[in-house]
């Protein structure tokens, strides 16, 4: 069986962005995931976000590990380079690629197995390095490709398809990221594209490591009664902290007086993230408060979604390393080699 390419059909009524590209130009190969998979909805939201941000597809790089979620990098932006690496190790590959070419926009797609079990160390250290990338964790609490084993994000008491209950405590990527000092932490739901798209856009524009944990139900192995990662359970128990609007830099003036906006955060490139109707008791720039809020809601059995924490002031990997602004891959060899005279002089020090 080979991969399935989508026919390049373009409907005449399709709108184009300022690059002259339609949403179709941001799509990829046909998804081979199960019908109804949450991941396909996330893919659609990614297409929407890149289209609206007007990012030239070839200036983006799609990074992934292994698993159902990691396969999805093939299903959007066929004109972008993609890198489907080894299980749990995408963060290091993305770190290396970013070290070499800081000008590309990196989007990493991972899952709960890839990120929270085999790749937990790599995720933690990518957060510590604050690699400039959007890291999407498509979270379904289950190993899909190997047919239904619990993952490390499965809640205690959540039941498998065969009826057995999970007993080990889950690792919550949001709490993990907050405690590790992540500079952008959000949770979304694949069934709520309207709220997911602005979150993705803000994450893509964030300078540093942006983690979005997306509850993305597995229709084949974890969408039954008794599962806490099913569509039904998630729909019934998720609470959006506050819808966010992402206002790109160039559009700021036209959207500056949105009614009801209570908190705005200016991003590194001048874009603005605006939290609508956020309660006065919540400050998305207060890490400890964000942590406490998520924990308190969890105790009540609620899943808090939304952009939970944002810090636009921290240094990313390159700022910490004091790397030149120009991508290292673009530096001419002449500027990298000290030459024969320097070597000759240096040799005098080894005698």
């Amino acid at each position: 069986m080979t991969s399935i390419q989508k026919p390049p059909v373009r409907h005449p009524s399709l709108q184009a962005n300022s690059l002259g590209l339609t949403k179709r130009d941001y799509e990829g190969a046909m998804s081979t995931l199960c019908a109804g998979c949450g991941h396909d909805s996330v893919t659609a939201a990614i297409v929407q976000a890149f289209y609206e941000l007007e990012i030239p597809p070839h200036r983006a790089a799609k990074m992934s590990g292994i698993g159902c979620s990691s396969k999805t990098t093939a299903y959007f932006m066929r004109q972008s380079h993609g890198f489907n690496s080894v299980h749990g190790r995408m963060p290091s590959v993305a770190s290396g690629a970013n070290a070499a070419n800081r000008d590309l926009i990196y989007i990493g797609i991972s899952g709960d197995g890839d990120s929270l079990s085999i790749g937990l160390g790599q995720l933690c250290h990518a957060i510590r390095r604050n690699v400039d990338m959007l890291y999407l964790l498509e979270n379904n609490g289950v190993y899909g490709l190997t047919k239904g084993q619990f993952s490390a994000s499965a809640d205690v008491g959540s039941k498998s398809k065969r009826g057995e209950a999970n007993v080990q405590r889950p690792i919550d990527p949001v709490l993990l990221a907050l405690s590790l000092g992540a500079t952008f932490v959000a949770r979304g739901f694949s069934g709520d594209k309207t709220r997911l798209v602005p979150m993705l856009k803000a994450g893509l524009r964030h300078k540093g490591f942006a983690l979005i944990d997306v509850i993305s139900p597995c229709v084949s192995f974890n969408d039954h009664e008794g599962s806490t990662k099913s569509y039904r359970f998630t729909r019934e128990n998720y609470h959006e902290l506050a819808p966010v609007d992402f206002v790109p830099l160039q559009r700021e003036i036209t959207a500056s007086t949105e009614a009801g906006a209570s908190v705005s955060v200016t991003m590194h490139d001048g874009s603005i993230v605006r939290f609508r109707e956020v309660g006065t008791d919540y400050d998305p720039t207060d890490r400890d408060a964000a942590y406490a809020h998520v924990r308190a809601r969890q105790e009540r059995g609620e899943i808090v979604t939304g952009l939970l924490y944002i810090d636009e002031s921290s240094s990313d990997m390159h700022e910490t390393a004091n790397t030149v602004a120009r991508p290292l891959v673009d530096l001419p060899y002449d500027s990298l080699c000290p030459g024969s005279a320097a070597l000759d002089a240096l040799m005098d020090e080894y005698r």
Partner: protein
């Protein structure tokens, strides 16, 4: 005995003896006399035995000596073993602040006592300074005993301590304490002594890790990823030092490089591969345990055809093994590292100079063949100072980036297919991310066809892996050829070795010849083996394969790859963790030949 002897200094690590020992070696080198030093140190920070072996050889032999003429025994814990290493008629220098230990007594050597401890207690204040200066005091005694040029020693001390006035004075005082005592109480110099020569003028004293780091600098590497591990740590530390010196943009004061200390070797491998995929020259340095961890990523890079240079500074395995001892025991695992059918290009430098040149070659080969390349060094080459010819550089050098299509070239092709063999050499053109939408493709470690699309089709799968085999076949003749030294007219006996044993091998060949045993010698410089390797094996009736591992790994590799019967190659194996001696090779080969006649 003039300019032809060896001596060993036995101390406790963490007491500062390393700098005194380095000073001795450097002084001899500056007297123009060929010299080599082997630091035999523990995997420990303070309190365990450590030795420094210095060999002086007017003929330029730099291999580790089998025994020594003089021992400086300053570690009571190893007295018995140390004094046993001295040849009959040799000398023992010990600290006579205490009565001569029973373990140090031998009737067939000359015993010289200097009260180093007492001298330093009287002359210096504080435990630390007394301990440190004891090392300089024994250096002073050796200066007198071996006739080391005092002016040269003084010059080096002045260079080291110009900015630390107090230390400079202490060092000179300690030096003269030892020197004066020896002059007054012994008949100096001893029969083993030094005389100025002019044999080191175009040479430098350099360790392999520093040289390899310089190679990476000159090759234009911009991304280095690593996880600290002995004996590879000093490679990336040296690279960092050179980058701070030569790679900071003069205008912006920002770095033309990015070095990432990763959380483990898996990540270091991933960073290297990610950076190389994006178009940088990237590398990592590690040792055996790191190689094991990198295995999965190496398979990915092989199958998806991504470059990357991997330095393996071999140490004694298996497992943690002896981290501060040397070995050549990663050969088989590197040749076919990772699951599935794989084969990798590996280069085997024999000394620090070759570490420099082969690092550059490694970057060219990895980009040309779009596959990981290993530079397989070892602890002895990597961490010891070797006397090698001054490194030189051709300014006309330009990196071989291999087949990389730019935006303009992509415009001309109908459809870009990442794994399509257009030229018949097994090497397909690659593209870099960010360059052109037409060059986009999907890297996947899963089954893929020549267009980089997912496949589970047997024929499509085989088409790709068969081409990979063809690519590695092409590499056989592109990698560095073996160095072959034939005796006049050629011998029926061939000796094969690789890597850092070269120094001992050259000496062994000469010594065998002196005993009337003429052997031809081949030093393998790379893997996969080319035709020259096979021809050498074919052309010799009796073959010896000398290597530093228990299981004759090189012999196995030669048998697998060339089809030459394993039993036709006699293994000569030294795997105790110390650098090879010519004695060992000479005696093993001579014995085997005698048995075969």
């Amino acid at each position: 005995m003039v300019n032809d002897f060896a001596f060993k200094i036995a101390t406790v690590n963490g007491t500062g003896s390393a700098s005194a020992n380095g000073l001795l070696m450097q002084a001899i080198y500056r007297m123009g006399i060929p010299v080599s030093g082997k630091n035999v140190f523990p995997s420990n920070i303070q309190g365990l035995p450590t030795w420094y072996e210095i060999r002086v050889s007017k003929d330029g032999y730099t291999a580790r000596p089998a025994n020594v003429d003089l021992i400086v025994a300053l570690n009571p814990a190893t007295y018995a073993k140390d004094v046993a290493a001295v040849r009959r008629g040799g000398w023992l220098l010990y600290d006579s602040s205490w009565p001569l230990d029973r373990a140090l007594r031998r009737d067939d050597i000359t015993i010289l006592g200097v009260p180093f401890g007492n001298m330093c207690v009287e002359a210096f204040a504080g435990d630390r300074e007394r301990t440190l200066m004891r090392n300089i005091a024994y250096t002073g005694a050796l200066v007198a005993l071996l006739d080391i040029d005092m002016d040269v020693v003084s010059e080096i001390i002045r260079e080291q301590f110009t900015k630390k006035r107090a230390l400079l004075d202490s060092n000179f005082r300690a030096l003269h304490l030892g020197y004066d005592y020896a002059k007054k109480n012994f008949s100096c110099p001893l029969p083993i002594r030094l005389e100025r020569m002019n044999a080191t003028r175009d040479q430098v004293l350099l360790d392999g890790n520093t040289a390899a780091a310089l190679g990476c600098l000159y090759a234009g590497a911009t991304v280095g990823a690593w996880y600290p591990i002995t004996p590879a740590t000093s490679l990336m530390e040296a690279f960092t030092g050179f980058c701070k010196r030569y790679r900071v943009d003069p205008q912006t004061k920002r770095n033309n490089y990015c070095i990432l200390q990763a959380e483990d070797e898996l990540s270091a491998a991933g960073i290297t591969i990610g950076a190389a995929w994006a178009g940088a020259r990237a590398f990592t340095s590690t040792a055996g345990p790191g190689i094991s961890l990198m295995s999965e990523f190496i398979g990915l890079a092989y199958y998806t055809e991504i470059p990357g240079v991997f330095f393996d500074i071999q140490r004694t395995g298996p497992s943690t093994g002896m981290p501060t001892r040397t070995q050549q025991a990663d050969l088989l695992s590197i040749a076919y590292l990772s699951h599935g059918d794989t084969k990798h290009i590996a280069l085997f430098p024999s000394n620090p100079a070759e570490c420099f040149y082969m690092s550059v070659t490694a970057f060219d080969l990895t980009e040309r063949f779009q596959t990981p390349v290993f530079v397989v060094s070892d602890l002895d080459i990597g961490m010891n100072d070797w006397m090698v010819p001054r490194l030189t550089w051709e300014d006309s050098y330009r990196p071989d980036r291999g087949k990389v299509l730019d935006a303009a070239q992509l415009e001309k092709v109908q459809r870009f297919s990442r794994y399509l063999d257009v030229d018949g050499d097994g090497i397909a053109a690659r593209t870099l991310p960010g360059v052109s939408p037409k060059g986009a493709y999907f890297v996947r470690g899963s089954g893929h066809d020549k267009h980089a699309a997912y496949t589970e089709d047997s024929a499509e799968y085989r088409e790709v892996v068969d081409r990979l085999a063809r690519k590695l076949k092409t590499a056989e003749e592109a990698v560095p050829a073996p160095e072959i030294r034939r005796r006049n007219g050629g011998s029926s006996v061939g000796v094969v070795a690789l890597g850092g044993t070269h120094a001992a091998m050259l000496e062994a060949c000469d010594r065998l010849a002196a005993e009337g045993i003429e052997v031809d010698y081949m030093r393998i410089r790379s893997f996969p083996f080319g035709t020259a390797v096979r021809e050498f094996l074919d052309a010799h009736e009796t073959l010896f394969v000398v290597e530093q591992n228990r299981d004759a790994q090189l012999r196995s590799l030669l048998a697998i790859e060339t089809g030459i019967a394993r039993d036709r190659m006699i293994p000569v194996l030294d795997y105790g963790g110390l650098p090879l001696t010519a004695d060992f090779v000479t005696s093993q080969v001579a014995r085997e030949l005698e048995a075969h006649v």
